[in-house]
Amino acid sequence: MNSDHSAADMEWVREALRQHEGPLTRYAMSLTGNLDLARDVVQDTFLRLCEADRARVETHLAEWLFTVCRNRAFDLRRKEGRMTPFTDSMMQTQKAGDPAPSETAGREDSTRQAMEILKTLPENQREVIRLKFQNGLSYQEISRITSLSVSNVGFLLHTALKNMRKQMMQLEGEMS
């Protein structure tokens, strides 16, 4: 199937960029641990989108973008010899500092602990958690993005949540 790259037709790439730029960069950052690298990865992803066959991509755009983004991130990490494990350090930096009182007022303690505990999980669990809870992707989509089976995705998520809540309960126990 040939696609017509008229100006109007390419508008969909701009739209895709507008919609997915933020979430993709955030995801790429969780993979590379570096904002500049993450941005390069996302730029590459969209450059590839420009060349992709719209008809084949559009029906599953988010999945396509996340897949390409992930592959690019791993390529880059290999190329640069950056075998840095998945890290949330960037996120931590951004979350540092005391949030405004109005933000914390109603926050449950357990919610605040969640991110700390998340960091202790194995990287594959962390990744599926991000894809699921941060990006709202389905088991099916996560399975295609990560090349894991659907049941494996389900298992990883279940295990991750179990680990999380075990640690959260421990923390709550220690605090009280």
Partner: protein
């Protein structure tokens, strides 16, 4: 038996279990207390994670990166590279958006938040009729919905999910004149139509004030400072709960009416005209967040105008209040959760091409052990998320806004209190998506609130609302009556949304949907419509909004 380590539990919580398996799974689930416990824990953990992960900043690209991409976009057609995925296939966007709701158990399950509440056990058994009367009596609440903008425009399904987390209310309440509406339990109305009895706010609120001083007092103060309060009662009998002699009530009422008029008088030049909410496209603005703090007081003024043979000025006609003023609420569902959500969808009375969604959030009745009238929830926020794949556009009905809305983020007020046994009805008119790619998922509803004396934010999620529901005539009486009340308000306001409706057709709908009218408030509504119809017939002389205080 289901072992707590069974990954199906997580799949179930996350809405990933195929529908075909769900029924059987739920059956087994009911027999596994351990699994139920695990389910609840999974739900909470997932919610925590969702909340927290959605808060993470969205960094985005640098201008240089964007420029590079833009250059590529503007380039002439490049060679075609193969798709990196094994092949294209249809993705059910409905599923993705449904995921945005994140944690969806069955409606019945979400409502059962275990909070150590013993209310269910203690819930007094009462016949439905008696309950309805109680509801009438207990509706001493304010509804004044402030529609809020999400902090950033949601940009995709993930961003939508990000915005799904409900925020602590921060918008200022509308300067709409906070007034309390209280029903009389068994008011009998004079033949002339609606008779107004007004009584003091404090009297009306006294049960709450006495029993929950810590939560009510600051709020009451805020209300009094902002607006001169007055409460309106349809019918002649006073509620026994007020504990004040009728004469004294009347005196207080008259004083309050006089005081309140300058604040609520629409002819007051200092007030901006209130404008109706327009349609929003679900694609651009999928979220409609409401901080509830409504009242039904404007109805008293409206009735006064109509009964005095005067066409009401637009600002007196507050459609949201009309809808709530004449609503009769459903019995609270079983469960220990202090709030419940009920959603009904049906045809739109005034526009056959549109649909109407009714959302009712109600507070549990006080249990026998609790003192009556204790507030059950505060800082209540409702968030509706409209799925662009199912809804083209939506419009919040009523809750008109001033043209120049003051925004002063520093003056965050505690809004949105739902007393025991009270409910809020909200109506949305929607234009359904009709394209081939539409999905049946229309709306997700979330409610966030705090309980008195606690600062923990609690959340309530209704299962996603799907396409369907019958036409207007097959909807419930309450749905039809609320539609009639909304249509009436729109007609009085000469709203651009009034569609094809006449006073006669409203009368017909309301007559048929009146049902059991225990406190005769619905009869009062019919009288209002008749009065308006009569006025409309002789319009021209009727449009003279005199100052209400100058009325005899």
């Amino acid at each position: 038996m289901i072992h707590p380590d069974d990954p199906r539990l997580t799949a179930y919580v996350l809405g990933e279990m195929p529908a075909a398996e769900r029924g059987e799974f739920e059956k087994i689930l009911q027999k596994s207390p351990e699994a139920l416990q695990a389910l609840e824990e999974i739900r909470r953990t997932a919610q925590c994670l969702t909340d927290e992960l959605q808060r993470e900043p969205l960094p985005g690209l640098s201008p240089q990166h964007r420029e590079t991409i833009e250059k590529q976009i503007s380039l002439p057609p490049p060679k075609l590279v193969p798709d990196t995925l094994p092949g294209s296939r249809w993705v059910d966007w409905g599923v993705i958006l449904a995921m945005a709701a994140c944690i969806i158990l069955g409606f019945h399950l979400t409502l059962r938040e275990k909070s150590g509440d013993t209310a269910q056990k203690n819930k007094p058994s009462s016949i439905a009729g008696a309950k309805d009367v109680r509801r009438g009596v207990d509706r001493l609440f304010h509804w004044n919905v402030v529609e809020k903008e999400p902090s950033s425009p949601p940009r995709d399904s993930a961003a939508i999910e990000k915005n799904l987390q409900l925020k602590i209310p921060h918008a200022d309440p509308l300067p709409s004149g906070k007034i309390n509406g209280a029903h009389a339990a068994k008011g009998s109305l004079p033949d002339t139509g609606v008779d107004m009895d007004l009584k003091n706010l404090k009297n009306a609120l006294s049960p709450e004030i006495k029993t929950a001083p810590s939560t009510v007092k600051p709020r009451e103060t805020a209300v009094v400072l902002a607006h001169k309060p007055v409460s309106a009662t349809f019918g002649k009998k006073k509620t026994a709960a007020s504990g004040v002699s009728p004469k004294k009530q009347e005196r207080n009422a008259n004083e309050n009416l006089a005081n309140s008029v300058p604040k609520t008088d629409p002819s007051d030049g200092g007030h901006d005209p209130l404008v109706e909410n327009d349609f929003q496209t679900a694609r651009d603005k999928p979220l409609s967040t409401l901080s509830i703090d409504a009242d039904t007081s404007s109805c008293a003024f409206l009735a006064r105008f109509l009964n005095q043979g005067m066409w009401p000025p637009k600002n007196v006609v507050r459609i949201g209040e009309l809808v709530n003023r004449f609503a009769r609420f459903h019995p609270f569902p079983k469960g220990s959760h202090p709030l419940a959500i009920r959603v009904e969808k049906g045809g739109c009375l005034w526009n056959p091409k549109h649909r109407l969604i009714l959302v009712e959030v109600s507070g549990r009745e006080s249990s026998a052990k609790e003192k009556p009238g204790v507030l059950v929830a505060r800082e209540v926020m409702i968030q509706m998320e409209f799925n662009p794949a199912g809804v083209k556009a939506y419009r919040l009905i009523g809750y008109e806004k001033p043209l120049r809305q003051e925004t002063n983020p520093s003056s965050r007020k505690e809004t949105g209190t739902i007393p025991a046994g009270a409910s809020l009805l909200t109506l949305y008119e929607i234009i359904p998506e009709t394209g081939a790619a539409r999905t049946p998922d229309l709306i997700s509803v979330k409610v966030q609130y705090k309980q008195p004396g606690g600062d923990k934010i609690k959340k309530l999620v209704a299962s996603p609302i799907k396409e369907g529901g019958g036409n207007f005539n097959s909807a419930s009486e309450d749905f039809r009556f609320a539609s009639g009340a909304a249509a009436f308000g729109q007609l009085l306001r000469d709203s651009k949304f009034k569609g094809v409706i006449t006073f006669d057709s409203i009368l017909q709908v309301a007559e048929q949907a009146k049902g059991e009218d225990l406190n005769r408030s619905r009869a009062a509504f019919l009288n209002l419509v008749r009065a308006a119809k009569k006025l409309a017939a002789q319009k021209g002389t009727a449009q003279d909004p005199r100052h209400p205080s100058s009325l005899p």
